[in-house]
């Protein structure tokens, strides 16, 4: 059996995170000692590994809960899990696209600044951001 501290160290998470997973219905201790300390078994270790790996793949705790529920459901099968994974991949691809747009915008901003020693009130990056904010406000007012 593992105490919460031991399990947390093993999975490189905090004890607070484990208590939060419990509150979210993702990970429960096998039992509690008479003094009220949580004790976890090997199942919890496997389950925690599963949760951490799914988080690394971009799943939120809510989504991980859904996948774990699918795993318990008799009616669900591998295609349901595959569907969830496919949709998550699509979401990630959209996010990557949005990040690329942001990165390109930053490249443009950095490239217009050719003099790092200039005074702050002549900073072309700040000016460009001000202009784009003004354009957006104007656009919103006209729209």
């Amino acid at each position: 059996m593992y105490t919460i501290g031991k399990l947390a160290r093993q999975a490189d998470v905090t004890a607070d995170a484990l208590r939060y997973y419990e509150k979210e219905g993702l990970l429960a201790p096998a039992r509690k000692t008479d003094a009220g300390y949580r004790l976890y078994d090997e199942d919890a270790v496997r389950r925690l590994r599963f949760i951490r790996q799914a988080q690394r793949c971009g799943f939120s705790l809510g989504e991980i809960g859904e996948i774990l529920a699918l795993r318990r459901s008799d009616a669900a099968c591998c295609k349901d899990v595959r569907g969830v994974a496919m949709d998550k991949k699509l979401q990630l691809e959209h996010k990557i696209r949005a990040l690329q747009v942001m990165s390109r915008a930053l490249t443009e901003l950095v490239s217009i600044c050719t003099d790092e020693t200039g005074p702050l009130d002549e900073c072309p990056i700040l000016a460009a951001l001000e202009t784009s904010i003004a354009t957006q406000v104007k656009g919103a007012a006209n729209g």
């Binding site: 295609k79 569907g83 496919m86 949709d87 699509l90 979401q91 691809e93 959209h94």
Partner: protein, 85 residues
């Protein structure tokens, strides 16, 4: 000619069944009227993202995402009928 593109991933049995049914609906309009293309989302991920596909399966018509999930036969028939009118 209306271009219908069905985005799904290979190996999805549920999609395969529904796609066959929907393809039959499209073919009712005549093969000269509807260009039907099945898109492997894993091979054409960039294109799927371009069109705004957020979940699979989905259907785009004439380069625009129209059904974010597979529609009923009646809905597809109504959509295609409206475009061919």
């Amino acid at each position: 000619m209306v271009k219908v593109e069905v985005f799904s991933s290979p190996g999805c049995a549920k999609c395969a069944q529904a796609k066959t049914m929907l393809k039959t609906v499209a073919e009712e309009f005549g093969r000269d009227k509807i260009a039907w293309r099945e898109v492997n989302i894993l091979e054409e991920m960039d294109y799927a993202v371009d069109l705004g596909v957020m979940s699979s399966p989905a259907i785009a018509i004439d380069g625009q995402l129209v059904f974010a999930s597979l529609p009923s036969a009646a809905k597809l028939r109504a959509e295609l009928g409206g475009r061919l009118r």
